[in-house]
Symmetry: C2
Subunit: 226 residues, 2 copies
């Protein structure tokens, strides 16, 4: 073992182990000893680097946000049109990397903390503001008026989080793509209702699930335009 520079390695390992421990033992059942065991270090080291169980878990929560943020930013950077950016915002939340069972358990635990923990509430507010701001920006680019963009951004955030919750609780793990495309289709429908013009939904880069009975394309509403 290298004598120096171990700290970031250990911190990462402990944070990852904390998330897995939350999944395996339940948030209430998590112990520092279990986390340390999973990280392959001793009990004392966890305290050495994080000071307390609370701080370790808080770091794990912050890690969740960083992961999601990086996922979304990466996708946003690859998107060249407003439509693609909107898709990136939705699909970033349903990326496979974000839907691993252990991450889902940790997110659920985080949600539960929000009403009681100011730190968790703060993170939640940041997450909401960031998503809302991104959505508003894209919707403005798509031609919505300011107030409509504000309202619709709020609604889209609700859709995303609602669909995420259903995915998390229903345990239908093959359904991630379907979840994302359901949200996307609804969003385009709502946008068309507000702009009065039909749009081409950007192609999805993923392959449709094998058993997906619904036509992949959007069901264009039969209105002639505004």
């Amino acid at each position: 073992m290298a004598r120096t520079g171990m700290e970031p390695v250990r911190r990462r390992a402990l944070i990852g182990a904390a998330i897995e421990a939350i999944h395996a033992e339940g948030y209430c059942g998590v112990t520092v000893a279990e986390i340390a065991r999973r990280a392959g270090v001793s009990y004392g080291l966890a305290h050495h680097y994080f000071g307390s169980k609370e701080q370790l878990l808080a770091a794990a929560m912050r890690h969740l946000f960083r992961l999601l943020g990086e996922e979304v930013v990466t996708r946003l950077r690859q998107a060249e049109t407003a439509e693609a950016r909107l898709s990136a915002l939705v699909r970033g939340n349903f990326a496979r990397s974000q839907l691993q069972p252990s991450l889902i358990s940790a997110w659920l635990a985080f949600y539960m903390q929000v009403p009681a923990s100011p730190a968790a509430a703060h993170l939640w507010r940041i997450y909401q503001r960031r998503l809302g701001s991104n959505l508003r920006s894209v919707l403005l680019q798509l031609g919505l008026e300011r107030e409509a963009a504000q309202d619709l951004a709020q609604l889209i955030a609700v859709l995303i989080d609602g669909q995420w919750l259903h995915y998390a609780l229903s345990g239908e793990h093959p359904g991630a793509e379907a979840a994302a495309s359901t949200v996307e289709r609804s969003i385009w429908m709502l946008i068309e209702n507000r702009t009065g013009q039909a749009r081409a939904v950007p192609d999805q880069e993923w392959q449709p699930a094998a058993d997906q009975g619904r036509p992949r394309g959007h069901r264009v509403v039969g209105r002639g335009g505004g």
Copy 2:
């Protein structure tokens, strides 16, 4: 004190105390002693009636579902048209009685349990099935085709739970009516998109919140009908 017939009284008191304790101490911080104290009984009695902490908390979770179910059923019974029944399904979830902070904390705690606890997962499935079945039934009455009703029911459930989650986590407690009407407006928009006919949104029986800037009425989309 009456010698007999105390059991249901105590059980109710302990369940109510458990929900309040979850809110006050956090789900992980709840102790049987604290619950008993809040219920005004001794520590031992809680074990006498429920056998274990786990069973007590499970009973509290089941109580949440009964409360919500009764709220919805009451509203459904008072509704005479399909439109009113749809409104009842939405607004039952946003009734003031269901949005007390202690209930919200308990629901969040319940959600967190779902992936790990088979009992919680079972309750969640029942809740989902009941809501989905009710929604499908109403949507069929509104003229949607079977498959469209199925899809839209799923989407409405997502909207409801997403909006509930945002309400629960944002702590904007005056916004309950706004939350419900946002969901309702979106639903009617989606229905119109699928049926191709504009509908009169049923009047709301509640009074608009004082500070509610948005027009109370539905924003009817400007389409002439099918």
